[in-house]
Amino acid sequence: MKRKLNVMMFSWEFPPRVIGGISPHMYFLSKSLAENGVKVHVVTCDFPGAPEYETIDGVEVYRIDSYKNPSPDFATWVYLMNLNMQKEAAAIASKLPDPIDVFHAHDWLVATAGIGLKHVFRKPLIVTMHSTEIGRRDGLHATTEHMIHETEAWLTYEAWRVICCSNYMMSHVKWAFGLPGDKLSMVPNGVNPHAYDRLENQDLSSFRLKFALPHEKIVLYVGRLVYEKGIHILINAVPKVLAKADAKFVIVGSGYMQEQLSNIVKSMGLEHKVLFTGFVDEENLLKLQKVADVSVVPSLFEPFGIVALEAMAAKSPVVVSDTGGLSEIVQHDVTGVKAYPNNTDSLAWGISKILTDDNYAKTIRENAYKIILEKYDWNKIAQQTRILYEAVLGEYSKSFWA
């Protein structure tokens, strides 16, 4: 192909709209693809104050009106939002000087837009499955959950290739939707280690004082306060850690379990040791990750575990539960500590080990940072993704759609 590869990506979040891990993934993937000679058009939901159209680091970003129609519930909103996304994307794609070569959809939240445009333009659809409903809910229980699961199954069926960010997620997706192995590709998620560079030589001691007393070590949790993230396991581990080390637990994020969790903390009489910050902006989050003595990811279900990578990039030692993508990111005793999932004693042991053994913490921190630079670099990930696009286009060129 003489001209640039032309890709249109769909996602329900892109900065400054940040809900979960898809938003930073979208930002870094599209930017790094642009740096690797791919023309990327991102179609995403609108956000107050963000323009409808802009070019960010070489990426064309289109934000569509996502609340055009009133919706009775979240799932219905998703499909109504897709109606508008699909219509706008159709208009954008048909007016581009070069045709779109590949559509790339991220999660079921943009399933119908991606599937519809694939057929209308007859171009291959690539899908990244960041998570699954059956994994998030630990099974399918309510009607909505079945509907979402079936939509995910349909999306992976329609996909030319399904990308997962970990080997764990590949086998999970293969099992959940009965996909053939050769339809799946593993491309890891990345992290930007340079985000922390400018904090390297800054004195953060007064910033640290906002969260903890000088003699307290900081145990950091970053994530939504929901069941699948295992935050309740960490809260239950607090007294066990405090028996070994003086620490302050800083819990960043919000979610439906917040009230329940703070009640547990109150009943333990440990309100002075556990701080719920709610959502924290990017600048403060980077600083917190930098000053944390240990970062904990106690997830019960974790397709990838980007928050562990971020901590490792910030040179904060990590304790993770040995599950999902986390099992692949962390090598026990080398780049972090692995605890048994859903096990308070094991998690408390891991945290205490890091807090009480400075040499151990230091080794882990250095090894982890080295791995980040070697394996989770966005430039390498973009190159892998580009090769995958080209492979799909090679197959496509031999099909009757070409």
Binding site: A90, A91, I115, L117
Partner: protein
């Protein structure tokens, strides 16, 4: 002229009076040398079939079986309608003159295909949400009205079956009256009227 009709009911699937109406119209159109392709829903009969009257019917089923409401059912069925519509378009070497869409169910598909492939569509109104659910202002009903509004906004032409319906569309959706043609099925000139709308909407001459 090559026309694709989108309608959520078509014999043998009969929900209301639209199925027979569209089936009659399609038969008449074929007699008037219009190549008619109907895209419709059926959960039992799927795929392409050519009917005795010369109408080609493309029946699609919803790939998602479990739903929380009619909207989620509709908004997942539309991609299959798009797949069918696009298949017809590519099989006819990209020569489809017009889409005729009945009521709100397949408005999303008509709007997407219009924007992607540049095929204009006529929105043929049988009934409106305001009449089906008078006074209902729940988000569910408002969303259906939103889809109807989008249908009117993006349509090349609108047809109503009576002067009364035409005035209702103007009253409820502020659609410019000249965009709406009345094609009454009881009038002797019914098929001629529909053909005139098709010609005008597809960029052909309005004269017969």
């Amino acid at each position: 002229m090559r026309v694709v009709i989108f309608c959520w009911e078509y014999p043998p699937r009969i929900v209301g009076k639209l199925a027979d109406y569209v089936s009659n119209l399609a038969t008449q159109l074929v007699k008037n040398k219009v190549a008619v392709h109907v895209v419709t829903y059926n959960d039992v009969m799927t795929g392409i079939s050519e009917e005795a009257n010369g109408v080609k019917v493309f029946r699609v089923d919803n790939p998602v079986r479990t739903h929380v409401n009619l909207l989620t059912w509709d908004l997942t069925l539309n991609q299959e309608a798009e797949r069918a519509g696009a298949s017809i378009y590519y099989q006819l070497r990209r020569k489809v003159d017009l889409i005729d869409v009945y009521d709100w169910h397949f408005i999303p598909a008509a709007v997407t295909i219009k924007n992607a492939l540049g095929i204009p569509y006529v929105y043929s109104v049988d009934s409106l949400e305001d009449h089906r659910s008078p006074g209902a202002d729940a988000p569910f009903n408002m969303a259906i009205r939103g889809i109807e509004w989008l249908g009117f906004f993006e349509a090349q032409k609108v047809t109503a079956k009576s002067e009364w319906m035409r005035s209702e569309i103007v009253r409820l959706y502020k659609v410019p009256a000249e965009k709406i043609a009345v094609t009454s099925p009881t009038a002797a000139s019914w098929v001629k009227d529909v053909l005139a709308v098709y010609k005008s909407a597809s960029g052909g001459s309005e004269a017969q």
